[in-house]
Amino acid sequence: MPRVVVDVMLKPEILDPQGQAVANALPRLGVTDVSSVRIGRRIEIEFSGQPDLDRAREIADKLLANPVIEDYTVRLADAEESTP
């Protein structure tokens, strides 16, 4: 059964200190050409029946994301992503 994938990201104007900390650590790996890192969250939902994108959007809007500080996208997982 295909999964629904919800990606949640902090809005661009919200400071992401975790992303900054990761970006600041990259020079220790010898990486010097990264200008920005931002960290979000990926959530995979499996419905008991057919995947319901509208229902998934409602779940994302009410619980998975806080629209005050976060944006989200909802999509069906690609075929290869859905392999359990």
Binding site: E13, I14, L15, P17, Q18, A21, N66, V68, I69
Partner: protein, 227 residues
């Protein structure tokens, strides 16, 4: 008549006992409320205590918002029920949209635990009427995700309408915008703050007795003192 102040316990609440103790020291009856019980048992006001409700999973306060007790509290708050959210309680109030804005990861990423000076900016709420406007108080702060953020329009509105209740002074522990430590809703019955007044009510354990003012304020309010 003794005022009855409810203190909610969620799975992962830490400071419910201290909050209940502060309520009793102020002279009210502390009524334990349970996250899974929508019945408020006739309380006159509610405290949402600090801690890590539901393990802070997803976002702090995001899951507690949907607890059965919160449905009743949210409806009551819109009808004027006084609600004080401390730390995780403040996060829950923001997640429930009873207060604007959100609490995010501290700017410096460190958990900050120290005694903190605050300035009481608004003594016009149900929970701060025992203070003088501009009074400086010392209470503990302890959080990892206490950075208050809101869009500029919301921040300007909070400032213009006197809804910034307490502000950090002599240092901002978490990068909160405009040094905001606590805010109130339009009606002044719902207050949320990140610092912990319930830990500053006894000389033995607190840095001051300043926190007691929040709990004596609600008693004054319930006795009909003008807010």
């Amino acid at each position: 008549m003794t005022a009855r102040i409810g203190v909610v316990t969620f799975p992962g609440s830490l400071d419910d006992r201290d909050a209940a103790r502060a309520v009793r020291i102020a002279g009210a009856e502390a009524v334990p409320l349970w996250h899974d019980d929508p019945n408020l048992h006739g309380v006159d006001a509610v405290v949402l205590p600090g801690g890590f409700s539901y393990g802070d999973y997803l976002r702090c306060g995001a899951i507690a918002r949907f607890a059965p007790v919160m449905e009743t509290i949210a409806a009551g708050a819109r009808d004027g029920l006084p609600v004080l959210g401390i730390c995780n309680g403040f996060q829950i109030l923001c997640e429930a949209h009873l207060l604007p804005g959100a609490l995010t990861r501290n700017q410096h990423l460190h958990f900050r635990n120290r005694d903190q000076w605050l300035r009481v900016e608004s003594a016009g709420t149900a929970w701060t009427n025992a203070f003088q406007p501009g009074q400086e108080i010392l209470v503990p702060v302890k959080n990892g995700e206490g950075r208050y953020v809101a869009d500029q329009r919301t921040l300007d509105e909070l400032e213009a309408t006197g809804r910034v209740v307490v502000r950090y002074v002599y240092g901002n522990p978490n990068g909160s915008q405009r040094d905001i430590a606590g805010i109130t809703n339009e009606a002044g019955n719902v207050v949320g703050l990140m610092p912990h007044p319930e830990h500053a009510v006894e000389a033995l354990t607190g840095p001051s007795l300043d926190g007691l003012g929040f709990f004596t304020s609600i008693l004054k309010h319930l006795l009909g003192a003008p807010a």
